[in-house]
């Protein structure tokens, strides 16, 4: 971070926008006192200058952070989490009654009433977020920093959160809203500061905030999305799903998928889209219905059966479920094809293994000094490409991408879709699961909308508008 100016007015919602590595998190850490700026910098709070803040001083000034992971104690009650300040400071004994009062007061401020004695670990994620916000308020937060607060929320929950942000603002609370989602910026921001490479590219006032301007500022490039148009009806389907049902998850799901085609499945969180994908990947068993690969009915007892039929699944949580971060890059690449690399003694076919690793690392232009280095030493974008590489190594017929660009910045997104385009050209069929309407529409040939476990409508992407689709999803 270099020579950066940033200011927040009282009672303002100020968005901080930037790609991974743009300096957002460093700025946040300095504001909340976790890190210190180099000498020469200055932080002015309500007119009084300070060279740097400590965590305690930042808290004393009413600066509170709502971390992306929420930073709650899952084994403590709602009351204890909200009134955590009374646990951190005070007398010898814990003031339970005081905690309850403080927690109730904080919840009343935002108009909610959660069970004070419930363990936070038992709450759904959206309610946990409310607990985190209440904690910041209970600690007399006057400047709340929200770090990617919408990452794991459904659309409805996001709307509720954005309303809450407006409400807090009207009470005079200032909010720094850190995000990489442009549509949220458009909804809440009064001012937007865009960061890139540790520098401020500009601060836009309310009237100047426009999507294309922001996107260009963030990446330095302009992206044009256009839905691909193609007719696949002459090809035989590679995957046919008919009347697939699983109690409590999804019901009567049916569709065809042809080589080279992208089928998007969209819908709110909990609409059953991920659950269908998990059954197609053999992780769960459907109660009834049929899955056919190349016209041949199949039955998956585990994900290994699905993989054997050429189905690959890239989970949403790629960094914890898609990769083994502490282990070598090479080991991660070959993990999906271990059965091909075993010779008659049960040991590795060494030459084939090394050739395979070299091929995929090269093919995806993953910049790695050493394939023996742990995956966590790679940059974020390279890690994302590696998740795809390990499935490409398997040569899948059907690739299921679950929210492939969640938590990914714009240029890494572009990289992912370029790889997907190459695969399509080779005849791989793709199922794209996404709750971002624009993404589902612009990168697919057809879109299915799911609601409450059922497919409610099907669209040809090139003939459908974003607004039209959004209406159906949120109906």
């Amino acid at each position: 971070m270099d020579d950066l100016d940033f200011d927040v007015h009282a009672g303002e919602v100020h968005c901080l926008l930037g790609e991974n590595g743009s300096g957002k998190s460093t700025l946040v850490k300095i504001i909340c006192g976790v890190e210190r700026p180099e000498p020469g910098g200055e932080i002015v709070i309500e007119g009084r200058p300070e060279p740097y803040l400590t965590a305690a001083r930042a808290a004393a000034h009413g600066i509170q952070v709502i971390y992306q992971d929420l930073s709650l104690f899952p084994n403590l009650t709602v009351a204890e989490n909200i009134a955590a300040d009374l646990m951190a400071h005070g007398g010898l004994l814990v003031d339970r009654q005081g905690m309850r009062v403080a927690a109730e007061a904080a919840m009343a401020r935002i108009g909610i009433a959660l069970d004070l004695d419930r363990k936070v670990g038992d709450l759904p994620i959206a309610q946990r977020q409310l607990v985190a916000i209440c904690r910041a308020l209970a600690a007399n937060g006057r400047l709340l920093i929200m770090d990617e607060p919408t990452a794991s929320l459904t659309r409805h929950e996001v709307d509720a959160l954005l309303n809450l942000v407006h409400q807090l603002k009207s009470e005079g609370v200032s909010i720094i809203f850190v995000t990489h989602r442009l549509d949220e910026v458009l909804q809440v921001a009064e001012r937007v500061t865009v960061l890139r490479d540790g520098r401020r590219l500009g601060t836009l006032e309310k009237g100047q905030i426009e999507k294309s301007v922001l996107s260009e500022l963030m990446t330095g490039r302009q992206f044009h999305y256009a839905a691909p148009r193609a007719d696949f009806s002459s090809l035989d389907p590679v995957l046919t799903v008919s009347h697939l049902s699983r109690a409590g998850e999804y019901e009567d799901i049916g569709f065809d998928l042809r080589p080279g085609e992208v089928l998007a499945i969209t819908g709110l969180l909990g609409s059953g889209r991920t659950e269908v994908a998990l059954s197609l990947f053999g992780m769960t068993k459907p109660d009834s219905g049929q899955i056919a690969v190349n016209g041949r009915p199949v039955r998956f007892r585990s994900n290994r059966d699905a993989i054997a039929e050429g189905i690959a699944y890239v989970p949403e949580d790629r960094l914890s479920m898609g990769l083994v971060l502490p282990q070598p890059i090479a080991s991660n690449v070959i993990l999906t094809v271990l059965d091909w690399l075993r010779n008659w003694t049960g040991l590795f076919k060494t030459a084939e293994r090394d050739a395979l690793v070299a091929r995929w690392i090269g093919h995806l232009s993953i910049k790695a000094p050493d394939v023996g280095a742990p995956v966590r030493t790679l940059s974020g974008g390279n890690q994302q490409r590696l998740v795809l590489a390990k499935w490409l190594a398997r040569g899948p017929r059907v690739l299921i991408l679950d929210s492939p660009t969640v938590g990914v910045d714009i240029s890494a997104k572009d990289g992912i879709y370029r790889i997907v385009a190459d695969m399509l050209a080779e005849g791989v069929a793709v199922i794209l699961i996404s709750d971002e309407i624009a993404e589902a529409l612009h990168h697919s040939h057809r879109v299915l909308v799911m609601r409450q476990g059922r497919i409610v409508s099907a669209h040809v992407s090139a003939e459908t508008g974003e607004h039209e689709l959004s209406e159906i999803v949120h109906a």
């Binding site: 898609g322 990769l323 083994v324 050493d370 023996g372 398997r394």
Partner: protein, 340 residues
């Protein structure tokens, strides 16, 4: 044979650096003790005693290490070694003494095989509890440890079973071209296990499970099956250690070697195994075992109380762990694994 799955180790990532560190410690100790104890230290007698003592602890540590690689522990190794030794021993002692010939030999072999069958069954049960029921390995093997030693004590009422055929005793006390048989057995375990762990899909699966079982499962690896196989392997190694102990002492008992349990963990960690899984090296383990044994042999020779050696082991463990953290720039503020 050394390092992760046949790929070159990255700079500062341990493989080479770690073993050099252990090697340096070992050489330093040998020089130090040679100066202190004179020529006695490197005499044939010392080295030979050394070579008879190392294998028991070595094989047990190997059984512990394979479990640690997968992110677990196998606290039942010693209880199982004793149960297997008692199984073999009880069968062997009912054989008529002083006989020979093919039927007799077959009976001896069958008795020994029975021990390994017991180990395989115990390994399957332990592996099933861990992999399919989802009990944490520490708890599962802690329970199995109590259960197995309970069976041993119950069966023998705490008594010693002894008096085995010479053919058996040979495996604990004999030599082949001057090399002690237990050492040969140890080498015959270490080399295949090292190859299995570093050069086979099974070894890679276990390593990956040790770091992130979920991601490994999503990649299409049958993680549960791999874990069951792993605990069977660990149990068979424990049984082999039991066999060597039985042969060396010419007796078996429910409580032999109980104090070895935490020493095996210590040897693994000293040898570079990560107690949270994903990293363990047989080469490091062997070096660590030699270091531990050199210290106790030398202290024995110098007339120190053997328990002083135990204290030194502990100090070396603290020193190497702290140094490794500093050298690897690994002074972690947070232990991320606690958030799983």
């Amino acid at each position: 044979m050394i390092g992760r799955p046949g790929f070159p180790a990255g700079p500062g990532r341990g493989g080479f650096g770690l073993n050099t560190g252990l090697l340096a410690v070992l050489l330093g100790l040998i020089v130090l003790f040679s100066l202190l104890a004179g020529s006695d230290f490197l005499s044939l007698r010392t080295v030979s005693a050394f070579a008879f003592q190392l294998p028991e602890l070595g094989i047990l540590s190997l059984a512990m290490m394979v479990a640690m690689l997968s992110g677990g522990l196998n606290l039942s190794v010693i209880a199982l070694a004793n149960l297997c030794a008692l199984t073999m021993g009880s069968l062997l002692t009912v054989l008529p003494a002083g006989e020979s010939g093919l039927p007799w030999l077959a009976a001896v072999v069958a008795s020994v095989a029975a021990g390994f069958v017991v180990a395989a069954i115990v390994g399957l049960v332990t592996g099933y509890i861990i992999a399919y029921i989802g009990v944490s390995p520490i708890l599962a093997t802690l329970g199995m440890m109590t259960l197995l030693s309970g069976i041993s004590v119950g069966m023998t009422r705490g008594n010693i079973v002894s008096g085995f055929p010479d053919a058996i005793v040979f495996f604990g006390n004999g030599t082949v071209v001057g090399i002690p048989v237990p050492l040969l057995i140890f080498i015959a375990c270490v080399v295949p296990v090292a190859i299995l762990l570093t050069r086979s899909p099974f070894g890679l699966s276990v390593t990956m499970i040790g770091s992130n079982q979920r991601a490994t499962h999503y990649s299409g690896v049958d993680t549960r099956r791999a874990l069951v196989k792993l605990y069977v392997l660990s149990s068979l190694l424990a049984c082999l250690a039991g066999f060597v102990m039985m042969a060396r002492f010419n007796s078996a008992n429910a409580s032999y070697g109980e104090s070895y349990l935490l020493v095996t963990v210590l040897a693994c960690v000293l040898g570079g195994a990560d107690p949270y899984g994903g990293f363990a090296r047989t080469s490091g383990l062997v070096l660590a075992l030699v270091i531990l044994q050199v210290i106790s042999s030398a202290f024995n020779l110098l007339g120190f109380n053997p328990f002083f050696a135990i204290a030194i082991w502990g100090l070396i463990l603290i020193a190497t762990t702290a140094l490794r953290a500093v050298a690897g720039g690994n002074l972690r503020l947070i232990d991320w694994r606690l958030f799983r």
